[in-house]
């Protein structure tokens, strides 16, 4: 009976994982396909053709470049702002802190359609031409929330007397921040910025409203569905997947190492 229970549990777990990973597997697999026509939807034959010429389609390549630029820029800005918001919220009691808390959660809970369309109407009211900068602004908007909440969760346990100790030893505010606070909370910030980068790269709905005539990678893929769907789309997607897996692995290793080094330093407080 107990054996049967184990079997059942393993089976369900495998099914659930399969459900999660099958689409990803299909994407990777079809990057090696040699499609019959313009649409890479049916398996025909194994080929490295698409991997040899990943940038064969100019527009696809351009959309990927745009997406990466948007993601890099919006992540940078959102990480700086979000980190400072998180620091302010954990560090100080001030009027309006609870309002900011609420406002931070709002972009996460509001439907993207609403966010995207209201941003668009704001831009139209301002007579701003939609394009690269409006995409970046829109992405910063929701990324800031994710960064602030992630960083805040990670710095809950930060020992603020460390800052006092640094100040006491003669370090001015800048030195305190860059030599003590920042290095200690860096793992949380890195994790948050990776999240922001992924969210930006991935965003479709909000971008659709605010992109003007610019085409990001998700928008291109959506459009390609009608005209042509070359395996290069899968190649680039797989490349992103690999890159993010590598960064994730490296970050996890790095965080484990710093945690191990600091692990015991928490002991006297416990």
């Amino acid at each position: 009976m107990r054996r049967f229970g184990r079997w059942l549990m393993d089976g369900v777990a495998i099914l659930a994982l399969g459900y999660l990973f099958l689409p990803i597997f299909v994407i990777v697999l079809y990057s090696f396909n040699k499609p019959a026509g313009k649409f890479n939807f049916v398996w025909k034959a194994f080929s490295l053709e698409a991997w040899r010429n990943p940038f064969a389609y100019e527009a696809l390549y351009e959309s990927m470049k745009l997406s990466l630029r948007v993601a890099a820029l919006s992540t940078l800005v959102a990480t700086v702002f979000g980190t400072f918001i998180a620091l302010a919220l954990t560090r100080y009691r001030f009027r309006g802190a609870s309002a900011i808390n609420l406002l931070l959660v709002l972009p996460l809970t509001t439907p993207e359609v609403v966010l995207g369309s209201s941003l668009l109407s704001l831009f139209l009211d301002l007579n701003a031409r939609t394009g690269f900068s409006t995409i970046v602004i829109a992405h910063i908007m929701f990324s800031v929330s994710y960064v602030a909440l992630t960083v805040r969760a990670r710095i809950r346990g930060f020992d603020w007397t460390l800052e006092e100790a640094a100040m006491d030893l003669g370090a001015g505010p800048f030195r305190v921040f860059f030599k003590v606070t920042l290095p200690i909370i860096a793992p949380g910030i890195v994790a948050a910025s990776m999240l922001a980068f992924a969210l930006s790269l991935d965003d479709f709905i909000i971008t659709l409203f605010n992109a003007g005539n610019r085409i990001t990678y998700p928008l291109y893929v959506y459009g390609a569905r009608r005209a042509a769907f070359p395996p290069q789309i899968n190649v680039l997607a797989t490349a992103i997947l690999l890159a993010s897996l590598l960064t994730l692995g490296a970050t996890v290793l790095w965080q484990q190492r710093t945690l191990r080094q600091r692990g015991m330093s928490l002991a006297p407080r416990a």
Binding site: E164, D168, G170, P183, T258, Q261, R262, S265, P268
Partner: protein, 409 residues
């Protein structure tokens, strides 16, 4: 007025000798310092000077304002009123990173991402001391605290006592004018605490820097300090050497906080400049030195006698200066027998009976007489809170509270 005097509390004049601290050049002076948090008065009228090279302790129960006073000296808090003078300069509004005093924090606050050597080097580097001089200081101080072989470790890989010593070396690396220590041994177990007390004292002598030491452990303060400031509810009740504080407490609070004290309610019968005669236990006349508190005939007062200064006899003393008591119980404690007695008016008395006093077996109910030498008694202003509470009970309670140190939030 000499700054070593506590000027604001006429009810509790200090017995400290003002000339003593003046023999040292003052390095830190608090002038009429008041600190309020909103309407809450955390420190009232702190007014004293700390001499160069002195080991100065601030002692008092939880919440009495010790940490607040220390944080004002360090620069983390600003006094609401008054000034703090460091080496002749008013630093009341100077930020911590421009004051040449350093702090050892209760939980060490070592930088977890830096090696031991980098922790120690942080101060000199912040002050733009050259690389060569910095590494010389790091070597020197790690040798002083006996951690030279751990220079490359991270603080997380050290034991509590070792971390404590890194914190000490780090705080000394700027060669501060004074080192501020806020219950630095609070997180250590008893054995290690005692070892570190000796170690701290050795290091202080070696480096010759003023230590300002906050503790609520009276034993620690008595064994380590040149002078002690006893604080209560934001007020400095008395400043003096451990001997002065112990033998001549200025108030009932101080008497009770340091060691065990018998506090006997009394009425002043008659007083001249040096001696006073008081009536205790209803009708017994006893002589005590008049002390710093100016007693008026007819005034209520408290007589303080330490348990080891009480003389117990089977017969009434020949000079008639004695109080009849009965034994409640006696506990053998090795060097002394701790004997709980009760006077006819219900006052509880504790006596430490040494082997030199020849007495019959101290059975409960045994009638005895207590007396003391003229210089063993101290005349204090009356206890405002329950003078007739049993002193030994208070003392024991305080003792247990002192052990359970509450973490600072």
């Amino acid at each position: 007025m000499p700054l070593t005097h506590v000027s604001n509390t006429p009810a509790a004049p200090t017995a400290a000798d003002p000339s003593r601290a003046e023999s040292r050049e003052p390095v830190i002076t608090l002038e009429h310092v008041v600190k309020r948090f909103g309407s809450y008065l955390a420190v009232q009228e702190a007014h004293f000077a700390i001499g160069r090279g002195e080991f100065f302790s601030m002692l008092g129960p939880s919440g009495c304002g010790k940490t607040t006073t220390l944080r004002m000296i360090a620069g983390f808090e600003q006094p609401t009123e008054g000034r703090i003078v460091l080496d002749g300069k008013d630093v009341s509004r100077v930020p911590p990173y421009r004051r040449n005093v350093n702090t050892v924090f209760q939980h060490y606050a070592l930088f977890p991402h830096m090696s031991v050597a980098d922790n120690v080097a942080f101060g000199p580097r912040s002050q733009k001391v050259g690389a060569e001089e910095t590494s010389r200081r790091v070597d020197q101080l790690l040798t002083v605290v006996k951690l030279a072989q751990f220079a490359d470790r991270k603080p997380g890989q050290l034991s509590g006592g070792q971390q404590q010593r890194v914190a000490l070396a780090r705080a000394l690396a700027n060669y501060p004018q004074a080192l501020l220590l806020d219950e630095p041994l609070g997180a250590l177990d008893l054995k290690l605490r005692q070892a570190m007390q000796i170690e701290l004292k050795r290091i202080q002598r070696e480096v010759g820097i003023t230590f300002i030491y906050v503790t609520h452990d009276q034993e620690e303060a008595l064994t380590m300090s040149d002078r002690i400031a006893v604080m209560n509810e934001g007020r400095v009740e008395q400043i003096g050497t451990p001997q002065e504080i112990y033998h001549s407490p200025a108030s009932v609070f101080v008497a009770n906080f340091i060691g065990v004290a018998n506090l006997i309610p009394a009425v002043v019968e008659h007083a001249n400049g040096t001696d006073a005669t008081v009536v205790v236990a209803g009708s017994r006349r006893m002589a005590v030195p008049a002390g710093a508190w100016p007693p008026r005939p007819g005034a209520a007062a408290t007589v303080m006698v330490r348990p080891e200064r009480l003389r117990l006899t089977s017969q009434a003393p020949a000079d008639g200066r004695g109080v009849p008591v009965t034994v409640e119980h006696a506990v053998f404690q090795g060097p002394v027998v701790r004997c709980t007695l009760r006077a006819a008016d219900g006052t509880g008395i504790v006596a430490h009976v040494g082997p030199e006093q020849s007495l019959p077996a101290l059975e409960p109910g045994l009638p005895l007489w207590i007396g003391w030498d003229l210089d063993a008694g101290r005349l204090l202003p009356p206890d405002t809170v329950g003078a007739d509470a049993q002193p030994f009970v208070k003392a024991d309670l305080r003792h247990t509270m002192g052990r359970a140190s509450l973490p600072r939030l």
